[in-house]
């Protein structure tokens, strides 16, 4: 279901708004009965919904969220009822809530009890999230840049996790500079489903925040620091994420996708990703490659296996295999690629890539098709 919604999103056919069928899920139904918060129901399901968890971290949060939403709605109704009672009930009958005892009971004792309980729940949930997952199978470094995501696959284990993340992360960057088979990608993160994964989060410029609501809460990417986030996806699927800390300019257009594969499928994907780019198979694609290497494209972008070694923008070695371009803002096909090259400043104003409108239509098509062929 969600997969279809996402594919509609990345294929440019947005779905229309509707009240979700999730009304019939129990907590949603309860909320519907208890509160005028029925609008919140739309929170039950959605591509980027907090209440549509697909991993243990997000599930813990969704649980505590539901408990608080329902509890909060209940408390609100009680307080509103008291207020109505204070105004509408006959004066001689409402005297019992006009004393200090009412203030002490409602304003001190009740919050003391409820909030103590909530605090314990809060701390236990936090513990479950922070320390609950098993040792990660993979470590992936994500570097936020204005306004896209650079992704390094650092290999197995928890090598980048914990306190020494910074050192390991930097070591990985060094080996990347040497070109030793480190897998680099952009704006799309592939993970094995059912396995816990460590993300080492960094930034190349300003503060960004890494957030995939279906899988986990957000964590900031802060200059000079490496923060680590462990997450797990329950099953294969595609999850949308977005930068959640204002980072200037087109911050609104800094999205990405997390693709969870079955573990063996993930290994296959990884093996493919490790290979250099395919050579162009047709003269037309070769023309595209020549254009890419001969113009300023190669100054900023890298295509492993060619002379394009630019490190400024996203690595395009396997760009054709990605779902979206422009940091999650457009579906990926030759048409959108051509549009992006010719008018990226129109599609994502302020982004670091200039609009290359000097290409002829034919050249643009060759370039775009070449890129699309880089599976």
């Amino acid at each position: 279901m969600r997969h279809q919604a996402i594919s509609r999103l990345v294929s440019g056919h947005a779905r229309v708004f509707r009240l979700p069928s999730a009304v019939f899920r129990l907590p949603c139904f309860l909320a519907f009965l208890l509160t005028p918060l029925s609008l919140l129901l739309t929170g039950c399901e959605g591509i980027q919904s907090v209440f549509d968890p697909h991993g243990p971290n997000a599930r813990h949060t969704a649980h505590i969220g539901w408990v608080m939403l329902i509890g909060g709605a209940f408390i609100f109704l009680v307080v509103a009822a008291f207020a109505a009672y204070a105004i509408l009930r006959k004066p001689e009958k409402r005297g019992w809530i006009s004393h200090r005892g009412f203030i002490i009971g409602g304003g001190i004792v009740f919050p003391l009890v409820t909030l103590t309980a909530l605090l314990v729940y809060d701390f236990r949930t936090a513990r479950a999230i922070v320390a609950g997952l098993e040792t990660p199978a993979h470590t992936i470094e994500v570097v936020g840049e204005q306004w896209w995501w650079r992704v390094h696959y650092l290999g197995g284990g928890d090598s980048g996790g914990g306190a020494d993340a910074d050192d390991d992360g930097n070591a990985a960057l060094d080996s990347d500079a040497a070109g030793n088979g480190v897998i680099i990608s952009a704006n799309e993160i592939h993970i094995p489903a059912g396995r816990s994964v460590t993300f080492v989060l960094k930034t190349a410029d300003v503060i960004h925040s890494f957030w995939v609501p279906n899988l986990a809460g957000k964590l900031d990417m802060i200059p000079g620091r490496a923060t680590t986030l462990r997450i797990k996806a329950d099953h294969a699927g595609v999850f949308r994420g977005q930068c959640a800390e204002y980072c200037g300019g087109p911050h609104a257009k800094m999205a990405f996708y997390v693709v969870a594969h079955e573990p063996e499928e993930f290994e296959r994907w990884l093996a493919n990703e490790r290979t250099p780019a395919q050579p162009p198979g047709t003269p037309f694609l070769a023309q595209g490659q020549r254009l890419f290497l001969g113009t300023s494209c190669a100054v900023c972008h890298q295509i492993r296996g060619t002379d394009a070694r630019g490190q400024v923008g996203p690595d395009l070695t396997h760009v054709g295999s990605r779902m979206s371009i422009g940091a999650g803002i457009l579906p990926n096909n030759a048409g959108t690629l051509a549009g992006w090259i010719a008018s990226s400043q129109h599609l994502k104003p302020g982004n670091r890539m200039p609009s290359f409108d000097a290409f002829s239509g034919e050249e643009l098509r060759a370039l775009a098709e070449y890129l699309e062929s880089l599976k």
Binding site: L115, L119, V120, F123, A126, R127, V130, D164
Partner: protein
Amino acid sequence: MALSHFTRAGLGMLCGPVIWGVHFLAIYVFTAMACARRPFNPDWVAAVPGMVFAMTLLATAALLATIVPAIRANKRSRDDASGFIPWATAAFAALALVAVIWETLPVLLVPICE
């Protein structure tokens, strides 16, 4: 120079919140430093719970030492006007006590530096 009525009453009333503030800063700063220094000196992290408990004991004792005499003074006072300041002293300190105890709870429940 003896403290004036104003200074004494003012300091008395603010005792509770100030003790809370000192406790809060102490446990926060110590935890932050312990976690920041973890790579160099892991012993500090192990010391965090003990340190927090010790601070909480101290703060609780100080708050009780504020509350009890204030309640007595309030009982002794003849009218609203003179009872107000001891009442406020005790109430502010009681609120501070709740905050201090709540802030100690997580030590039992939450991993320290994760």
